[in-house]
């Protein structure tokens, strides 16, 4: 069976309006998608978006908004109003009463720490300070060896972190999240973000009041501010910590990066770079 090319060309010449219309609709669709502004970060109009409380809550912005909440809602109403979300939260975190909730907040920074990983990140930060740029993987491994650290676990940890960062850079918001000049200095931002969210979830589960969590949020926020120099630095640390946690739970780096996609989107929305309306743009670090 042969294809009659002449007949096809003749048909298109007679009915050109249809192919043109289909191509036009597809092109228009992509133009509209490209021009549409990104969705804004979920915000609850019933609560302030300025002031100390909002600034402290903004530390948990990624964790809160990727868990169906509004970043400025200290009462986590989305969760308190949903039986299934409350049930999931209790099961996932083991938050059965006020004591277990408080204990989780207090222990989380330690539970999320890893002596080898944290030391290697600190080492890379000091190498970056002396080089004036982010060291390459080779330079990082070499520096670790000079400090007496080598072997399987060291190279495995460095390779995982570098693979995750390379994965971030390939994402749509890659240059915003991790510009070439930036070095992620620790992964503790993840624990602080989770702690801030956990504080609000305690209100949703009836373990504390909004007033009671004010000093908890203030302490978490103060500790985060003492460790990081900007929202960008903190946010990168959060994203790396989150992805590393997924890897620790058994995912390979590809899968962890896929899972971390919503975190990167939330990072972009927290800044709302196009309009400058996100909490990480309007609130000072």
């Amino acid at each position: 069976m042969s294809i009659d090319v002449d007949a096809i060309i003749a048909w298109i010449a007679e009915n050109w309006i249809w192919p043109a219309a289909i191509v036009g609709v597809v092109v228009l669709f992509f133009i509209v998608i490209a021009l549409l502004p990104d969705a804004r970060i979920s915000t609850n109009p019933a609560f302030p978006i300025e002031g100390d409380e909002a600034r402290d809550l903004a530390v948990g912005a990624i964790q809160i908004t990727t868990s169906f909440g509004a970043w400025n809602d200290p009462e986590a109403r989305a969760i308190s109003e949903s039986k299934s979300l409350r049930k999931n939260l209790v099961e996932m975190w083991g938050l059965t009463d006020r004591a277990s909730w408080m204990e989780t907040i207090q222990e989380l920074p330690e539970r999320r720490s890893d002596p080898l990983r944290d030391s290697l990140l600190r080492l890379r930060a000091s190498v970056a300070d002396s080089l004036g740029r982010r060291p390459t993987k080779k330079e990082w491994v070499k520096a670790a060896k000079e400090h007496g650290a080598g072997g399987r676990d060291v190279t495995d940890t460095i390779s995982t972190i570098v693979a995750l960062e390379n994965g971030f850079k390939k994402k749509k918001l890659g240059t915003l999240v991790l510009p070439d000049s930036a070095t992620i200095r620790s992964s503790t931002g993840y624990a602080y973000g989770q702690c801030a969210a956990l504080a609000t979830w305690g209100v949703a589960l009836g373990f504390a009041t909004r007033e009671e969590i004010r000093p908890i949020l203030a302490e978490i926020s103060a500790r985060a501010r003492s460790e990081f120099g900007s929202w960008e630095e903190f946010g990168r640390s959060y994203l790396l910590g989150r992805s590393l946690r997924l890897v620790e739970q058994g995912m390979d780096t590809e899968k962890a990066l896929e899972k971390a996609d919503d975190g990167l989107t939330a990072y972009g929305r927290a800044f709302d770079a196009k309009r400058g309306g996100g909490p990480w743009s309007t609130l000072t670090w």
């Binding site: 944290d118 030391s119 930060a125 000091s126 400090h147 650290a149 200095r185 058994g250």
Partner: protein
Amino acid sequence: MQGVRGSGLLRMLGGLAVAVLCVIGMTLLVRWALPDTAGTILAIGIPVVALWLLTVTAVWVVSASRGVRLQRWASSRGLLYQDQLSTAGRVPWRGMPFPPSGRFTVRRLIQGPDDFESGRFRALPTESGASTFLKPFSFVRFPLPVPVPHLVVTNRRSSTLSWAGITISKGRKLGGSTEFDGVFTLHCPPQYERDALYIFTPNVLAALLDYAPGCELELIDDSAYLYFSREPALWKPEVADALLAVTALLRATLERQTHRYRDDRAADTESPSLAALSRSAAPTVGLGGLRLRAGTSHRGRLVFALSWIPFVLAAGWFAWTQFS
């Protein structure tokens, strides 16, 4: 409770039914295809298959009854029990004999509310053939109050780590320092000799010898691992209770010895801009003290080399038949 669904009973009964059907099918096939010799084949074949089925069933019944007894014991002590965990991905334990990732199975996994864990670990071969020469081993893990340098006490009489295919390279061996030199070897990262002797005082080594002879001990980050080459008979309540008691005693001894530990070299790698770190993020062990380097033991290499013999013989036979 584990129940019928989790015990593997249904899988076992299903397998048995399939095996019986296969035997009947094979009998009919032999009678149809080889009517002259069917009598001889079936006279030998049926008893062999029946014996094999009986053996498999007996092994399963013994294993299942041990699992049920262990589960009952674990429930009575408020511990979680899982008869078998088979998965692939990152291995959640950090000790030297555990591979960082891959396929693995853990049998008779017991977990306590105080972060106590015990089980028998076996690395499964990956597609690339890695981990195939690692021998299974039993372990107990419990937390330490603070992170400590990477320290390993190997047993000179029966080394689980060596049998598991692991040897410690580039570390320091501390000998001539205690009266336990004939039994144990203490390994530590270079320049951590004093720290090792601060933690492993003679009373700690005496406790190890008294409570867990034949075991090896590894301290890594904020965890302690005890390794056994042979699986302890935990399905016997008295053995399981003894293991809990021994672990509690060792844990108390190590807690007393480590809770004040602080490595002065820990601040060496601290970045100046991170001077005001929070307590949780502050390093307590210097980078050089966090990991001993592991290599493959002679036994591991030998087992690995031996595992290639069938392939080499097969390749040689193929080459000989083709080209001679």
